[in-house]
């Protein structure tokens, strides 16, 4: 049910960002950018604990009147951000988690590709298709 999906690298630049095109994409880009602060905050709060104990799923980062932003961070500090429309009947936490899991899985596949240099933008078609499935599912 995402309206926007973004993958942010460790250095906080986007590796992949995609929105439902009907909306103003710039707005989503901005939202994702601001959500990074919240992510950092959450990560640093828990970060004192061992990485093993750190939960990957960050949960709802912050809600606005229009949408909610969920975050997920991997152990390599790659962040996934999903923006969901609030008007959608609120998705259960599990669904969001499963979406992140799928994202993570396909991100892993992209990483496995020896032709992918970490730090490049993600141009994998399979990754695109998975993201599209997540986004189409919503709208």
């Amino acid at each position: 049910m995402a309206v926007c999906v973004a993958v942010i690298a460790k250095e906080n630049y986007p590796l992949y960002i995609r929105s439902v095109p009907t909306q103003n994409e710039l707005k989503f880009h901005y939202t994702v950018h601001t959500s990074l602060d919240v992510v950092e905050e959450k990560v640093s709060a828990v970060g004192k604990a061992l990485p093993d104990q750190r939960e990957l799923y960050l949960g709802l980062l912050y809600p606005t009147e229009d949408y909610k932003v969920y975050g997920y961070v991997t152990n390599s500090k790659v962040k996934f951000v999903i923006v969901v429309d609030s008007s959608n009947t609120s998705l259960r936490d599990n669904e969001i988690r499963s979406m992140f899991r799928k994202l993570h899985s396909s991100f892993t596949d992209v990483m496995c590709n020896p032709f992918y240099n970490p730090g490049d933008t993600i141009q994998s078609k399979s990754f695109d298709s998975i993201v599209s499935a997540m986004m189409v599912q919503s709208s």
Partner: protein, 724 residues
Amino acid sequence: MESLTLSDVEQKYYSDLFVYCDVDNTKKVASNGKVLDLFRAAQLSNDVVLQITELCGATRLGHFGRSQFYIALKLIALAQSGLPLRVESLNSVKDLPLPRFVVGKNEQESRHTAMYPDTENQGPYSSVIPRPPGRVPAKKLSTHEVIQPCVSAPDTTSPVVSPHQSPPTSPHAWRKHKRQASGGAVDRPPAVAGAAWPPFREAQPGTHSGDGMWASHSPPPVQESWVSFTDTPPSSTLPAVHPSSAQESTTVRTVASAATTNEIQRQASGYEDPWKITDEQRQYYINQFKTIQPDLTGFIPGSAAKEFFTKSKLPILELSHIWELSDFDKDGALTLDEFCAAFHLVVARKNGYDLPEKLPESLMPKLIDLDDSSAPEVGFSSSPVEVTPNKSPSMPSLNQNWPELNQSNEDTAIVHPVPIRMTPSKIHMQEMELKRTASDHTHPTSPLMAKPPELSEEKKLAAIKFPGSTVGDGYSSSDSFTSDQEPISSAVTRQRSHSGTSPEGLKAVAPPPPPPRPHASHSRSSSLDMNRNFTAVAAGGVWFTSPQQMPEQPNFADFSQFQVFAVEQPVDDGDTHASSGPLCSVQVEKGVDAAGAVRATKNDTQAEERTPATVNSAKGSTPLAPPPKPVRRRLKSEDELRPDVEDHPQKSSVVPGVLATQASIPRSIGKDKKAIQASIRRNKETNTVLARLNSELQQQLKDLLEERISLEVQLEQLRPFSHL
């Protein structure tokens, strides 16, 4: 409808035609319109066409199924060769030329007839326009889709080509496509080979012709391209498929023109599936695989594959896509099948074919590879697995741990669980306890079961076969293709069962150490006997000894010697008991005598009990040597009477001794599984016995305390009298 036998060529040709007519992509029915167009293009009279339609059964069915279509085509061939149309003649006529469909261009006619399996026909090929993969720009056309499956593969044969262009009434879209194709052709000469091509191309700008020709042409370029691909990796031969490099590639292709027969064969085979790899191609791929990875069942790691395919000069994006398609199990490494698929795709791409969105079925690696890949791969080269945070590197490593662990656990030699009956029968209790105490046993659950009762006393024991338990667990987990311990892979929802917790759980459990090896004479029955004896003795002997010994706490040590040296006993007892009064002394003496008698018997029985060493082990005394027997006896009596301070140090001192003996025992057991199990059983029996003994002793202790209290009361009552 009689069955139709077709030669290979015919099969291909008809299949192509069918696909061509299968506008709706149903793969089952050719649209009537197209079919009729096609038939008309065969330059037969309408009557004949109708007759054919009837004969093939299409009128009956109302549509052209594949078989009907094929029969119709055969009939057309018959008709074209002037033979009467008969159903019987379908199979009987040999060497029937393939049906020809006229487009309106003479060249095409000659082309098709020339193109067919004439192995000597290299000429027509070169003269044929390889309608270049101008499809690439043209692929947006929907009609293009129709052709796509037919022509998208290097292996497609020329027959595909001609019929498609033949119908003069080809839809408008076709023409548009052709225009684009021709436009594309200009852009993409790379797929075109030979100087003859450009002029040819120009000759038919607006025609449908050449359309499929290029498809046929692909095999030769493919083959040549291979050669160049490998021989001169970096620089020369295969420039990227770009217009700029057209000339170079054309020269390359013309150079390697030696492979004509192979091309045709390649065309011939695998016609049905455009992406199929021919045997020769496969052999070539296998050879290439060998250069990177000599073991054909091994993997090519991602980095090596990357280097290899980068030589093909395809853009990284495309290589990345090819990798995504071909790395079927997503492990960051290529098996032989995956490698062949990837190579095939690269070759196809180099020849201008578009990469499919999904891996074609013929390129899919056999699923059995998955099983192989999950097993420890001998060929898994040591090259870095940096790109793979996922399961399979960890899987081989996990698997590879097993052999080492297994070898290290030669003593244990058990990986899979042994069923244990948990019923509380006496014997089985003993068995189980014995089993639990056996450190040899690597049953994953048994250590857990054994843990509570055993851990306390056996923690100190040596010979932890703990890796065995992890092995057992890892075994099951690997079977289920489980993830490694990384949280990333554990988070992945792919076919991974998560058993990461169990190894850790087992790690916490110290497997029970083996109990002391009992005498060879030890058997379950004897232990039972021993128990019986013991209880009998305990019932009888304790009472006798207790009255006298109760008050003599401080003399306990003496008393213990008393037991050993029966002669001295009365004296000692007498001395020690004198202070407690005549009554007591009388009692003591009596008790002593009785105790002596009882003790003698008890000692005998205890001696018997010694032999089943289970009790011995429980008592913590070495079961083997007679000299310790007195010690044991003393301990026993002490236990019976009351635990004493000395008892404790003795016991504690003995316990390490027992532990030592126990520890040393399993070595002698040997690798024999049966022997191990037998010993396990015995140990369990011992344990049961010991537990029972313990409980009995506790009970006796309680009783004795009561006795003591009652005696003291009596004493108190009596004492005043004694004073008097």
